[in-house]
């Protein structure tokens, strides 16, 4: 029998929730350690690991050289022999340098060794566009990673999810990629006290609605909520918002269930439109809910172009509440 305990809530920032999750897991399990560029003495490029070096010492909070392929490989090796590393990429852009380690080693060694090795490892860091970080440092990398069997990909949008999924990722016996967001690090939210862990592959309905379903993940939850709020105030269509939370495994069932009610779907994501988890979701929904659709499934995505440095152009390249509203209007025209 499940006993419901009323848990107290505290307000934290997203980066603090991540830090708390890592610290709690490091207290719980001495095999857990952190490595990455500037995670120690500099307290983290985005201060996510602030204070952890002083608390856990240099053996468990390790500053690495600027060599993503090298330290990703070292961490995978450490995971293979029984440790549980957390690898911070200063941003996911730089994970491209370590792509082969993730694709060919982390995701494959369990199978390639016939189960003799597991790779309990977490790769984490901020993903997507920050502010004017230009074409090479604004990549929404989830598109590449969500395609790989053998790893899990988590994109927490809320502070509570940031903590719960980070803990789940550390406890998982397989590689888990946690894609955070620089623009979310400072956001505040309620976090339940105690040992709260979320399961992978279960989406969350962030707002109930009747007329159109918005499916999204990560930072793009914010413009979706904003657009839904504006529509509600102006008596426009009522939006149901599904936050996918994990992209692999991808919980399309919750979206299908919602579309059976609304008949309309807009998928909103920051990443490029060509392929990716958004397109995957559209495929699954049209196959499983064809008879429920009243309109073609639309997507509202980052522009199919390299990110401009210019602020105005950058704003025109990433979806915001205005573009979400435009997409809702377009899908409601059917």
């Amino acid at each position: 029998m499940r006993v419901m305990v009323e848990s107290r809530m505290r307000e934290l920032r997203y980066r603090e929730a991540l830090r708390e999750a890592m610290a709690e897991e490091m207290e719980r399990d001495e095999r857990v350690f952190i490595m990455g560029e500037e995670v120690g003495h500099y307290q983290g490029a985005y201060k996510v690991t602030e204070g952890l070096l002083a608390r856990f010492g240099a053996k468990r909070v390790i500053d690495t050289p600027i060599a993503e392929e090298g330290f990703a490989g070292i961490a995978i090796g450490a995971a293979m022999v029984g440790l549980r590393p957390i690898v911070e990429f200063m941003t996911w852009n730089f994970s491209a340098v370590a792509f082969d380690q993730i694709l060919s080693n982390a995701a494959k060694l369990r199978q390639m060794s016939g189960g003799q090795f597991t790779v309990p490892i977490v790769f984490r860091g901020p993903n997507g566009a920050a502010k004017q970080t230009a074409a090479q440092h604004s990549h929404a990398m989830e598109t590449f990673y969500a395609q790989i069997p053998g790893i899990k990909v988590v994109v927490p949008a809320t502070v509570a999810d940031a903590k719960a999924f980070m803990k789940a990722a550390i406890r998982d016996d397989n590689p888990v990629l946690v894609l955070e967001d620089e623009r979310l690090y400072g956001t505040k939210g309620e976090v339940p006290d105690g040992d709260h862990v979320e399961p992978f592959g279960v989406a969350a309905v962030r707002r109930a609605g009747e007329d159109v379903t918005l499916a999204t993940w990560g930072k793009m939850l914010l413009p979706c909520l904003e657009a839904a709020e504006q529509l509600a105030k102006s008596g426009g269509p009522s939006c149901e918002i599904v936050d996918l939370r994990t992209l692999r495994p991808l919980d399309h069932h919750t979206v299908v269930e919602s579309v059976r009610k609304t008949g309309r779907l807009v998928v909103v994501h920051e990443a490029w439109p060509y392929g990716g988890p958004g397109a995957e979701l559209v495929d699954r929904v049209q196959r499983e809910a064809f008879d429920a659709l009243d309109a073609p499934v639309l997507r509202c995505t980052g522009r199919d172009a390299a990110m401009p440095y210019n602020k105005k152009l950058e704003d025109m390249t990433i979806p915001d509440a205005k573009t979400v509203l435009a997409a809702v209007r377009a899908v409601m025209a059917y």
Binding site: Y274, A295, L298, R303, D304, A305, A306, T323
Partner: protein, 453 residues
């Protein structure tokens, strides 16, 4: 093979450069990193060194002239090579360049930037490069609208309003199928003649199929639309099992008319003096259950099922009794009916039936029968044929007991008759075997004392 040498980017911000001095002459052999020319950029005069090896066949820009970034400035190749076609192609894509250092001499190559493209063999190479570097060329996602961030379906041509044949969504077409509405005849009231769910709902099945457009039929009103009611789990199970039975079990039917005068009088005697509140009143059906059980014992080969290609002979007599319940019917099983008294059977059937109506039967109480009885006599039905309840081999359909005129000893007399129809699975019960069973049943029903022995 001749190669066009373009003006490279010699400083991070340069967009054009002035060729101050050529360091090599036409005909010179060039090695990689040889100084080719000096170029004045926005920052300083820079060295333009060769990235390629070869012979400088042609200078395309004169000293003192300004060239754009990426503009052809020279042609490399092998000595004596024919470069006329390369020259022609350069002429289409590049800014003017005198072929000789003489400043006043007009260039051989067309000076007009808007000159029409020459159909030179290498022209596509240059065009392809231009396409590949254009800023919009990266976008490869069809129908991006609304500032390029919302992926839209293609625009549809405008349709005449008020006419049928408008577009409709998968959900609306499904709705139309369910309602029996011919979607081709519905007039859409949505955007651009689109047929909405409301349009389909306004259209009755008959109006649409008889050719009246939705708008016309909508005003008629008063008639109620067909209603789609989701099937219960029991209904679905009945549908599945009976379709399976009728499609896979080869049914044949044997009919007999039984004289039930003695049976009815026996029943009357049995029920005589029984308090209807406390005691159990025996029904005709209870007697039939026991009679069928005994008849199966009398003709043991008829107590059989066809299962997975084998004949399974049953050495038990478990009789399924069809009980009508709300929204369907169930068949609870009276186990070992041949060994139970009629009153025991009667009590059990009542108890099973009342739990069946309350939907309280356990699944195992409805499984494992070898033979079914269905009785519609109480509804005034004279005779009917029932569908076999697989994997049972036979089912008996019992009609009502009727008063009939019979010939007795050469004279008309009043008699009681009851029609029964036996449905048999021909895979295990042949006509003669089924007839033997009915013969045995007739013997028991018409001399009902045997039922009690």
């Amino acid at each position: 093979m001749a190669k066009i040498i373009d003006l490279p980017k010699l400083s991070p911000t340069m967009e054009e450069g002035t060729l101050v001095r050529w360091a090599k002459n036409e005909g010179d052999s060039i090695n990689v990193d040889d100084l080719l020319a000096e170029v004045e950029t926005d920052k300083a005069t820079m060295e333009f060194r060769a990235f390629d090896k070869g012979t400088l066949l042609k200078k395309l820009v004169a000293e003192g002239q300004t060239a754009k970034l990426g503009q052809p400035v020279a042609i490399f190749g092998t000595p004596g090579e024919d470069i006329s076609s390369v020259l022609a192609s350069v002429g289409t894509a590049s800014a003017p360049a005198p072929s000789t250092p003489a400043p006043s001499a007009p260039a051989q190559v067309s000076p007009a930037p808007s000159a029409p493209p020459a159909p030179a063999p290498s022209a596509p190479v240059i065009e392809a490069r231009a396409v590949a570097t254009g800023p919009a060329a990266n976008a490869e996602v069809p129908t991006a609208g609304i500032a390029g961030l919302v992926l839209l379906p293609p625009k549809r041509p405008a349709l005449p309003t008020g006419a049928p044949g408008g577009p409709s969504s998968p959900r609306v077409r499904k709705l139309a199928r369910e309602r029996g509405v011919d979607i081709e005849r519905v007039v859409g009231t949505g955007e651009n003649g689109r047929i909405t769910a409301a349009d389909v709902e306004r259209t009755t099945a008959s109006a649409a199929s008889h050719g009246a457009p939705a708008a016309a039929s909508a005003s008629v009103g008063a008639r109620r639309d067909d209603e789609v009611k989701p099937a219960s789990q029991m209904r679905k199970a009945i549908a599945r099992r009976l379709v399976e039975s009728k499609q896979t079990v080869p049914h044949f039917y044997l009919e007999a008319e039984l004289d039930v005068e003695a049976l009815l009088s026996l029943r009357e005697q049995m029920n005589d003096g029984v308090d209807p509140k406390t005691g159990v009143k025996i029904s005709v059906n209870d007697l039939f259950i026991k009679a069928c059980a005994l008849a199966l014992n009398a003709v043991p080969t008829s107590n059989a099922s066809w299962i997975d290609g084998n004949i399974v002979l049953h050495h038990r007599v478990d009789i399924s009794v069809a009980v009508a319940v709300e929204d369907g019917l169930v068949t609870p099983v009276v186990r070992d009916a041949d060994r139970k008294s009629v009153s025991a059977i009667s009590t059990e059937v009542r108890e099973l039936a009342s739990r069946a109506r309350a939907k309280k039967l356990k699944p195992e109480e409805m499984q494992g029968g070898v033979f079914s009885i269905s009785n519609l006599g109480m509804y005034g039905i004279d005779r009917f044929a029932a569908v076999i309840n697989p994997p049972e081999g036979m089912i008996l359909a019992v009609g009502q007991a009727r008063d009939v005129a019979v010939v007795k000893g050469g004279a008309l007399a009043a008699g009681k008759r009851c029609s029964v129809t036996l449905s048999c699975d021909h895979r295990v019960v042949d006509g003669a075997l089924g007839a033997q069973f009915l013969q045995a049943l007739r013997g028991l029903v018409e001399k009902p004392v045997k039922i009690l022995v």
